[in-house]
Symmetry: C2
Subunit: 134 residues, 2 copies
């Protein structure tokens, strides 16, 4: 496989990682996601890792890089479907996923993204209201 | 990989096929989908084949079987992300995907499923109305 498909769901991009992420594939995924965020104006990226038996430091770094790039492009990254054994191994190895939020499944992640946008739009309302009251 | 992840989006199941479907994997996907339809009460199954370079007769048969089983369980199957070359090859080889609807992407497929449910609920309204007028 030369690239991992990126699916679009309204303003959310969805990626299901099912194969071992080697260098080229990981780089391509980063590029594809960045391009698609800009092209579609996506506000969220959901990465499903249900199929991954192991998340090593390279995969962890890839996920963190995707999250950082997305953040710069104003999109939040949520990793879903992490297996219990993967979570335990991550902690035992002391690996961290900086900038990456997690959710149990795609639906909960969509809910988190919707909640974040709702809070954001309300913060905008408050900011708009502030000058009027001064 | 031992199985292809099945993602849940409200009452729709989403599968992204990214690896070659050998026998065991195809059988397991059929089983998983049937079980998940029953467990979640899903009304639609969306299968993304963006990553597939080729849809041979085995893959075609697998998709048709999934569609038939889903139909019996009252869920509609829509295949999305078919590459132009794949479509051309399917036609040239005379392969058909009986019972399988197609859409360009996930969003259009979700729209088709929503429209089908809307029509269904209206049909119910008409059926309810008929006895009253007799």
């Amino acid at each position: 496989m030369d690239r991992i498909p990126v699916l679009t769901l309204a303003d959310v991009l969805l990626v299901s990682i099912q194969v071992d992420l080697e260098d080229q594939l990981a780089l391509r995924l980063q590029d594809d996601l960045a391009e698609r965020i800009v092209a579609t104006g996506a506000r969220g990226v959901i990465i499903d890792i249900t199929a991954l038996d192991i998340v090593d430091s390279f995969v962890g770094r890839t996920l963190a890089t995707i999250a950082s790039v997305s953040k710069v492009l104003d999109a939040e990254t949520i990793v879903v479907g992490m297996r219990p054994a993967v979570a335990i191994t991550l902690v035992e190895l002391g690996l961290q996923l900086p900038g990456v939020r997690t959710a149990l499944n795609v639906e909960l992640a969509l809910g988190m993204l919707a909640a974040a946008r709702f809070a954001e739009s309300h913060a905008g309302d408050l900011a708009d209201a502030a000058p009027a009251s001064s």
